[in-house]
């Protein structure tokens, strides 16, 4: 498939020799493509013939700035959304709130991504809970991966490197919130509460003024809690409902 972009690159001789040969053959074989290319060349020729008007410096600077901004917002870049990030944003500084908001919208449809064909519900409750609740197995598997990733990130969290610590912690908060929402929707209030409880700890870890020893203590407590939840969830399918 030869796209307009490819034709443009062909016109300006920006393709490799192999690619150029492919386009040349396609143009020879496909009259419609050849017509499209001629039209493109005509348009480019017309632009070339337009006399260049002098542009004031301040206007040029604004253009450059606008183009830079457009490039920064190109597809594939993470864009801040405001519609989802409500939880815990109260009381946060604007910068932290904005950073927390980044990318949340991307993964909200967590459940939609789960393969319904894989789901076989597993019982999940607290230790000694008589009322066993069915939680989708696909959610449990996803949560296990999330907890394992979080545990690894928390264990390796650079306590003394403030910028990295804050950035990593904010990422963890985003992911954690997705799973907290998913837990609510997956009929798992117990898990939702635990995940919700991680967030204040993570927010404290994200604070720039936290003392290293306090950060270390929080990190270790969080790692422990993650380990406990991993142990519980991993045991869920093989153990009796009473134990988890």
């Amino acid at each position: 498939m030869i796209t307009e972009d490819t034709l443009l690159l062909y016109h300006y001789e920006e393709l490799t020799s192999g690619e150029r040969e492919q386009v040349r053959l396609a143009l020879a074989r496909d009259p419609r493509l050849a017509a499209e290319y001629r039209q493109l060349c005509d348009e480019l020729g017309r632009w070339r013939d337009v006399p260049a008007a002098p542009v004031a410096d301040h206007v040029r600077r604004r253009w450059v700035d606008a183009i830079d901004r457009a490039a920064r917002n190109a597809p594939g870049k993470v864009v801040v959304r405001r519609t989802v990030p409500r939880f815990w944003l109260a009381g946060l500084g604007v910068a932290v709130a904005a950073a927390v908001a980044i990318g949340i919208a991307i993964g909200v449809r967590l459940q939609e991504q789960q393969d319904p064909g894989l789901s076989s519900d597993v019982p999940l409750a607290g230790i000694g809970n008589a009322a066993v609740t069915a939680v989708p197995a696909s959610f449990t598997r996803g949560l296990l991966v999330h907890l394992e990733d979080s545990r690894r990130e928390i264990t390796g969290l650079p306590v003394t490197d403030e910028a990295s610590r804050v950035a990593l912690t904010l990422q963890l908060i985003e992911q954690n919130r997705l799973f907290e929402h998913a837990a609510e929707q997956s009929n798992a209030p117990n898990l939702a509460r635990v995940l919700r409880a991680f967030e204040p700890i993570l927010l404290r870890l994200a604070r720039e003024d936290i003392a290293p020893q306090d950060a270390e203590a929080l990190r270790e407590q969080l790692a422990f809690e993650l380990n406990v939840m991993l142990t519980k969830l991993s045991a869920a399918p093989s153990e009796s409902a009473e134990t988890i």
Binding site: A90, G128, N190, R193
Partner: protein, 305 residues
Amino acid sequence: MHFLRTVSVIAIAAFAVTGAAAQTADKSADDTEQLRITALEALASAPPEKALPIADKVLRGDYSKALKKRALFILSQVETPEAQQMLLDTAKTGSEELRSEAIRMIGIGGDPAALAGLKEIHASGDADVREAVLEAYLIADDAESVYQIAIDAKNAKDEDEFEEAVNILGAMEARDELRRLRDQLGSSEELINAYSVAGDFESLRELAMDNTKPEQQVHALRGLGVVGGERANTTLLEIYRATDSPDVKEAALEGMLISEYDEGVLLLFRESKDAGEKQRLLRTLVNMDSDAVMEIIESTFDGAQ
């Protein structure tokens, strides 16, 4: 079940290590602490009758605060009245640091009786304890209790706690409770901020349309921007067009900027016949990194606008 017995035995053995181990070299002490932490982790798979005595032993014994905090987390995962009572006891009578942690664990456990017990602790607690109780209610998603704290705080003229409780309700997206607060106490900046965080479009729209209280209107317009979405954008556009107040216009524009509603700003730019207003709108579009900026620049130099 064999696995569970093994876990229990390991845990019991780990906590049977005497104080003598702690008196040896630091390395040995660290190893002992690590072993105990790992043993507590393993308790997550043990039945309550095995887990509770060990957790109790840790809480009552001469163990580190870090270890006691971990035991509290284990208790939060044991859904029996005994475990919840142990958490409540620690929340009432433990050391300052453990009290806050126990309160958090009651939130995680979500047991209604234990959560009800937090009311008394809140009433008699210091600022840290009161904050921990609010956080526990948030973790447990108990909006009614937070609402009660907000009402009590207002009656006691404790504005800081009122604001904190309202913020928490916003974070919980507890729209009903926030509306009840407005019905009872009237509107305030704190409530408008909470409506934004809670995404309560209806309340914000009502406040934004009310031009008898300009300051409140301005806050609500910004709040609509935070909520975002089609309904909020349409309202911002309507209000901008309808008002003659420069402050309200500016707030509506700010709302559109926050909401990244560049289509609306572009629409206003095209509608406007006022050069000063056009400049303001164009600057807003530039601040929004809008693609429309290039279009406007080109058409400006074409003389088409």
